[in-house]
Symmetry: C2
Subunit: 671 residues, 2 copies
């Protein structure tokens, strides 16, 4: 109920509506995401009653700074306005909008129309003098003098002013001065302050390599260590990866330990799943003794850094029955009527080797604090990237709190949500703060599926908060496409991952060695999965994709178009097995065009049909497409061009488009 | 920044997210609209972490009542939920949502799956006993006894329970009892209470007739009066209208009075525009002396009521230079530097006979109160419907306040927004509270235009708050289509208005007498417009549409399908001049199918293609279409059927579809 007495003098006379603001996530509760140096484009419906002109700005500030900065908003038509600002610092920004009736612009427009219609404007010029006079009180001293002078002229010598400036009435410098000192008495500020989380570049653009440290020993049969991982760094760096992600490195429980191929009965020398965290040797802040000591881990991180590689850690908040928490904090677990602790289950599946934490415990505050302490412990060791295991099985509010409080102290930290779950849950986890998110890419194989999914990721509000991180394989997922498609299938999925998404990763060496054996027909689990045993890989197999991977990662580094997802665009090809898409940078100086044959078995050909405008191409001019994968160059003209891809030779082109080819017209003497 | 110490024990363990609630207008600031007896369907995304089952309800209450009522929400899939409730009283309702983890449902599902998989469930049955035992504490005495009994059985005789109920574990009555006493410890309530404005039926379904009282005298040359209007009532009632809307009935200013055809120089006996309100005789609460006295107006209202007709008044908040406010409240007007008062203008157009009120005045509170006093004055005379003139030239907050505070005391009052302006302004006026809204219908003539516009009005969020009120003509708008299309054009626009929209009106007698003369070529203004002179109409012209109008209004009254817009659906016809659409009531018991020939000059024919499913028709059965306009009946079968419309005979069909025609199979002895 609106009580007139309680409405302020300003609110009662505020005539502007600001509505439909974009971006705005969950009514402004959550932040949009950017990286340092990116811009935030803001749109809103802004309008007033009647015919008055409106002026509007975006207000924005780095959260720790008190002072708002301004960026202008421009009318797009249909009462929609748009403006933008740059974010230049790690951390959080706030933004909102302000708009007001632009009396001076309304006045200028009215006078102009009356002059055109030959009407008398003598009273209008007096009104103009009044507006200038009022503005002079808001102006800095020297500006005030100019405004006062023009106010006097309008008042005392209107004919002279009209004779000099005609339909414009006043010179441009006076108009600019007036814009500098608007009358904001009844200005309206949008009722919410919206948030931007600004991450570092690696949050937007990264190539991850996942490997099991225990499988890194050079000789078969030995448990690998961080030292062995260090020896593997040159190999990983040569492929061009910039993040190495390790599954949990903690002591592994013995009770109900799983055997090879996820069998219930482990033999005494089975190493167990690294996700069954905690044993007599310690829990989430301890290191598996066979991997090394804490110093060895820190040394590994430092060594990786010399290769430009960052180490990402797994945050898997769950416990083996042997975890110290089980003894020290029984109140953090759910107890069954028979006195036992409730293990993880998704009936009829049972995971007796894992106890989930009970977030409904009365001691939830202590639990939250402890899990944050764990996270900070690893930050103290130098870790700045966390891959979070199954975040969708812990409460949303916990993650929002953890990520926000951690990022307030360490804004450079990256959290990747490993949630393969329902669409709304995945979106919400991204909204509440996860820096990057796993996707459905692994199960999107056909042209329709890929086009539809990546259009959703890049052309809806999702692009404001959901940073896709795509994986052709993971230790849990060997897709049917990879099982059955042979080496060409691995190349297809690699090219798609690396060019459709600025963040991608592979689980190696299984991927580059084209490991395709599943545990059984119809299963996506690896045969002899590293989750349950130590594997020894022959990295020098001639089949290895390492050179192609290196080439593709180099292409990504050289081409800004591939370092973000905003300017992704699909182009029609008649053949349903051929997928064609382009990516450009914001300026369209860098244009990458990808054509992939999705059929790993047969050669396919077809005519691509490019949206030339989007690519900044002139329909009348020849342009060169340079295949950065195979190094071939072709001259194309117009929208329709022929492609043919034999998967045994190369299942994809990654073209760089070079626009302006020289012709005879470029020579001086051609004229 | 989230402070853990400040998070309550409930909030910290709340695991449910409620988001994407529909309907929700402007973040819940404004109300959706319904009429008494309608339902409100509510949808939301509701989900939790992990695998637990969720239960959810809509909470709703009449605003004056403290007690929330519950309506269940059902899962639609993809974490979307839907429920509904009925609104049965005039005024405002509130609604919100509540959801919780359904521990009992999760338990039942788990036990069921384990039983199917042949797993041991002995501990699970003890857990079930615990859940039943806990519920018994929340239950009423006799329910508690039942729950306790079953808890004991599960604890002490699990084999017996399993043997009796198998995979269901527990009998249906226990499951129902458990649903009655859910564990809502960590229930989450949506953080906003949303609003429903409930109007009376006439807000949703009405047929308006606009006329100038001063033109109602039976003989030419005399100024009409309310008495003359009373004599006109049988004529209006015979056509089937239920609202008579009068342009302003107040004294008219003399200063700068406009002459015939909007000329600047009025002759002494020109009556002036009724919208130039206020003279020596009084302002917004006075009545034009030649129309009669206040008692005459009240008598007219009472007489109209006996015909089932309500009188709608014009609220035009603006003043002639002679209005008493100008003298008594100069502070409510804007003053120009030469001392004169600012008249209305939209440069280069000038309206010297109208002074707008200055809503930016320091005395805005007094101004708002006075305008509300004016509104209440007419409510006191018995007026309950206001057509608001140009609401888009007064501040939005003023309208929100006026409408909300008036409707709190008089929830039966209807405000129609006469705003022909930009789309977002029109939508916002509807959102902030106007009961009905003028539309762009007048300028939507082609099949594409009509289809697109009415799809927007009825199939987007607009249908929650924007009630279209469509007019084929108004005193300001004689569309080109009517100017050039002859009598068939008038019938076409009448049929479209009366069947596309549940609320429609005509400005008569200009409309039924097919007045089509414009002031000049290219203008939409009437020649000899009643806005500036008194007209005398020959109501008994043989051309008059009054009988067709009567027929159409009768069809509207007889068919619930035409009394709302929710179930409007367009059906393809190959001929671009033929428009085909259907309307049904919610139950689809009443189905109306309209086919209109939009070309007023030529006969057109084509095959309509009906969406049989939407109309509840069986593709294999013959159905009858009964033309309620011409009374012809046709037997149709399947989706494609032939229509042919000669505009000189009848430019439209308004079919009622009768489904179940008897066949030999309906006879008992057929078997």
């Amino acid at each position: 109920m609106i009580d007139l007495a309680q409405l302020s003098d300003e609110a009662g006379r505020a005539r502007i509506i600001i509505s439909g603001v974009r971006p705005e996530i969950e009514h402004g509760r959550f932040a949009v995401k950017r990286t340092v140096g990116e811009k935030v484009a803001v749109e809103a419906d802004i309008f007033t009653d009647g015919h008055d002109a409106v002026a509007a700005v975006v207000l924005y500030r780095y959260e720790q700074e008190a002072h708002w900065r301004l960026a202008p908003l421009h009318a797009l038509g249909n009462d929609r306005w748009r403006g933008q600002f740059l974010v230049t610092k790690l951390g959080r920004y706030r933004y909102t909008l302000r708009a007001w009736i632009d009396r001076f612009a309304s006045w200028r427009e009215g006078v102009h129309k009356k002059l055109v219609a030959g009407q008398d404007v003598s009273v209008e010029l007096l009104m103009g003098a009044r507006l200038l006079g009022e503005a002079s009180f808001r102006a800095a001293a020297e500006d005030a003098a100019v405004l006062e002078e023009w106010a006097s002229l309008l008042r005392d010598a209107p004919e002279t002013v009209l004779a000099q400036h005609g339909l414009e009435v006043l010179p441009a410098e006076v108009v600019q001065l007036m814009a500098k000192y608007p009358d904001q008495r009844f200005a309206v500020t949008y009722d919410k302050e919206l948030l931007v989380t600004v991450d570092r570049e690696r949050a937007r653009f990264s190539a991850w390599y996942e490997l099991f440290p225990r499988s890194c020993a050079p000789e078969p049969g030995r448990h690998g260590s961080f030292k062995d991982c260090e020896a593997r760094l040159p190999y990983i760096a040569a492929m061009g990866f910039d993040v190495v992600y390790l599954p949990p490195i903690h002591p592994i429980g013995r009770t109900h330990r799983k055997g090879k191929n996820n069998t219930l009965a482990a033999s005494p020398d089975d190493p167990g799943s690294p996700w069954a965290i905690g044993a007599a040797e310690g829990g989430h802040t301890a290191i598996h003794p066979q991997l090394g000591a804490l110093e060895d881990f820190r040394h590994f991180i430092a060594q990786a850094r010399t290769y430009g590689i960052e180490v990402a850690m797994d945050l898997a908040f769950q416990c083996s029955p042997d975890h110290p928490y089980v003894r020290e904090h029984p109140e953090w677990f759910r107890h069954r009527p028979d006195g036992s602790i409730q293990y993880a289950e998704n009936p009829p599946k049972q995971y007796q080797d894992v106890y989930p934490l009970d977030f409904e415990t009365n001691e939830w505050r202590a639990l939250w604090e402890e899990l944050r302490r764990v996270t900070c412990f690893w930050i103290d060791q130098g870790v700045r990237i966390f891959r979070v295991d199954n975040p969708h099985t812990k409460p949303f509010h916990f993650w929002a709190w953890l990520i926000e409080t951690i990022k307030q102290r360490y804004p450079e930290v990256i959290f990747l949500a490993e949630a393969f779950t329902r669409p709304k849950v995945m979106r919400y986890l991204a909204q509440l703060g996860f820096t990057q998110s796993y996707t459905y890419f692994t199960w999107r194989n056909t042209k329709d599926e890929l086009t539809h999914y990546f259009t959703e990721l890049t052309k809806t509000d999702m692009q404001e908060y959901f940073r896709p991180h795509v994986w052709p394989n993971t230790p849990d997922i060997l897709s049917e496409y990879l099982q059955l498609g042979g080496r060409p299938a691995f190349i297809v999925r690699l090219v798609l991952a690396a060019t459709l998404s600025a963040n991608y990763g592979i689980y190696g060496p299984a991927f580059e060695l084209c490991e395709h054996r599943a545990r059984e027909r119809g299963s996506e689990e690896y045969l002899n999965s590293e989750k349950y045993e130590i594997r020894h890989w022959n990295l020098h197999q001639p089949e290895s994709l390492k050179d192609i991977i290196a080439r593709i990662n180099a292409i990504r580094r050289d081409n800004p178009a591939l370092q973000q997802n905003q300017y992704l665009s699909f182009h029609p090809v008649e053949n349903p097995q051929l997928l064609c898409y382009s990516k450009t940078d914001e300026s369209r100086a860098n244009v990458i065009l990808v054509v992939v044959n999705l059929d790993p078995h047969h050669t396919h050909a077809g005519w691509v049909e490019l949206a030339l405008d989007e690519l900044g191409l002139d329909a009348r001019q020849t342009y060169q497409v340079h295949d950065l994968l195979g190094d071939a160059r072709y001259l194309w003209q117009g929208a329709r061009n022929y492609v043919e891809l034999n998967p045994q030779v190369a299942p994809a082109h990654i073209f760089r488009i070079r626009r302006h080819l020289r012709t005879e017209r470029d020579f001086d003497y051609y004229m």
